[in-house]
């Protein structure tokens, strides 16, 4: 099936994948750059809820966490699967199969790193959910897009600085409290 996605969306995904590939090819991976790239598609995720943008964001964030723990782990297979994914972006079915191979590859790092990669991936999903929320989507919407629960998002919300202080002041806090008090004896 040929991918008839929005051109800008495709360009954005390619940009991220190609840059991740360049980072992984380098002798010393710039970890902070991996993290930055994981946020690159968040506008597309929030606006279009595109499944592949979501997968790529989660994948790159997971890579950021993995390489933060150990930047010396083997990258050969990752690079091969990245190349394959980039080449196949115009065919949705093959592209998604290759993205899945990338996820399967990072799951193999469990033993090497002593972490549960599934937890890492879940953590990545929640973090990206918080980014979707930051873009103005509701918590329920953010959770649904990223395939996590509201419990997950709310638990992490406190650790995440949302840049929207002062946005709640239209209804006076004391007035709201006063109204609420009037409901109870």
């Amino acid at each position: 099936m040929v991918y008839t996605m929005d051109t800008e969306l495709k360009d954005n995904m390619l940009f991220v994948l190609k840059n991740v590939r360049e980072l992984l090819r380098s002798d010393h991976i710039r970890i902070s750059e991996l993290k930055r790239l994981s946020n690159q598609l968040m506008e597309d995720v929030s606006l279009m809820h595109n499944k592949d943008s979501i997968s790529i964001s989660v994948l790159v964030y997971s890579l950021y966490k993995i390489f933060s723990k150990n930047s010396n782990i083997s990258r050969e297979a990752l690079l091969k699967y990245l190349d394959d994914a980039i080449r196949s972006i115009d065919n949705q079915t093959i592209f998604r199969t290759r993205l899945k191979k990338l996820f399967d590859q990072i799951k193999k790092y469990d033993k090497e790193l002593g972490v549960t990669i599934l937890q890492t991936i879940r953590h990545a999903q929640v973090k990206k959910g918080l980014k979707v929320y930051e873009h103005g989507m509701s918590i329920g919407q953010a959770a649904e897009i990223m395939g996590v629960s509201r419990w997950d998002i709310l638990e992490y919300l406190g650790d995440f600085k949302i840049d929207d202080e002062g946005y709640y002041d239209r209804v006076d806090a004391r007035q709201r409290l006063s109204f609420a008090k009037g409901l109870f004896r």
Binding site: S46, E134, G140, S149, W151, L154, E165, Y168, R176
Partner: protein, 232 residues
């Protein structure tokens, strides 16, 4: 109908702070029913029961429902209206003719229930829902800033949405916690700390577990109890 409808967020915030007992405490002091809609019930019970992490908190909520402290209203009767309102809400804002789907049907389910039973209030902490109801221009500003693009507002849709929910009153989990505080739910804690310190700690705990209360509001509330300390 004398009722208060709960969105899932406030119940989750109470659960994550081990404050679920506030619900039956307040239920005893309210001459009506506490309700959950179908979607909220699903989020609170079905989703976490599949995950180990929140399974116990979910069981505690299930117990509250089992003991009728909070009841599930079968909102399948409103499913058509929920669908219409979801489409309405998610076509208020758009970027380059692409609608921004800002709310999900679960959140709308609670709004529709509260409106149809003429509830005294809807308890919702969630920022986007509250802003859409109370301060849509502020939500518009957030969307513009975060997307860094021109966000169009469909003013007719917004007016229609507000007409639909014009009588709906919103309260949050922090207001319920403060009411419980004033009704001495936390009196044992005050043997060991001041009202001001306790209220500040309580509100921060709730903020850090998902209640959209600003730092400024926490200061306002804390000051209320500081002043009451001073009055003795």
């Amino acid at each position: 109908m004398k009722a208060i409808v709960f969105d899932s967020g406030p119940v989750i915030t109470f659960a994550l702070n081990s404050l679920l007992d506030i619900i039956p405490f307040l239920r005893d002091r309210y001459d009506g029913i506490f309700y959950l809609c179908n979607a909220v019930h699903k989020e609170l019970i079905e989703a976490p029961s599949r995950m180990r992490k929140f399974a116990f908190e979910s069981m505690r909520v299930k117990k509250l429902i089992g003991e009728n402290e909070i009841e599930v209203f079968d909102t399948s009767v409103y499913s058509e209206e929920t669908e219409i309102i979801t489409e309405m809400a998610n076509s208020i804002f758009s970027i380059k003719n692409k609608n921004l789907n800002i709310l999900n049907p679960g959140e709308i389910d609670a709004l529709v229930l509260a409106k149809n039973i003429n509830a005294d209030a809807l308890v919702v902490d969630e920022r986007t829902t509250r802003l859409l109801l109370e301060n849509p221009m502020r939500l518009h500003a957030i969307l513009q800033k975060k997307f860094n693009k021109n966000v169009r507002i469909n003013k007719e849709r917004l007016k229609e949405f507000h007409r639909h929910f014009s009588t709906l009153k919103i309260i949050r989990s922090v207001e319920l916690a403060l009411i419980a505080f004033e009704l001495d739910f936390f009196e044992d804690y005050l043997k060991y700390d001041t009202k001001e310190n306790f209220v500040e700690a309580l509100l921060w705990a709730m903020k850090l577990n998902g209640c959209a209360v600003s730092e400024r509001e926490i200061k306002v509330f804390t000051k209320l109890y500081k002043d009451s300390n001073a009055r003795g």
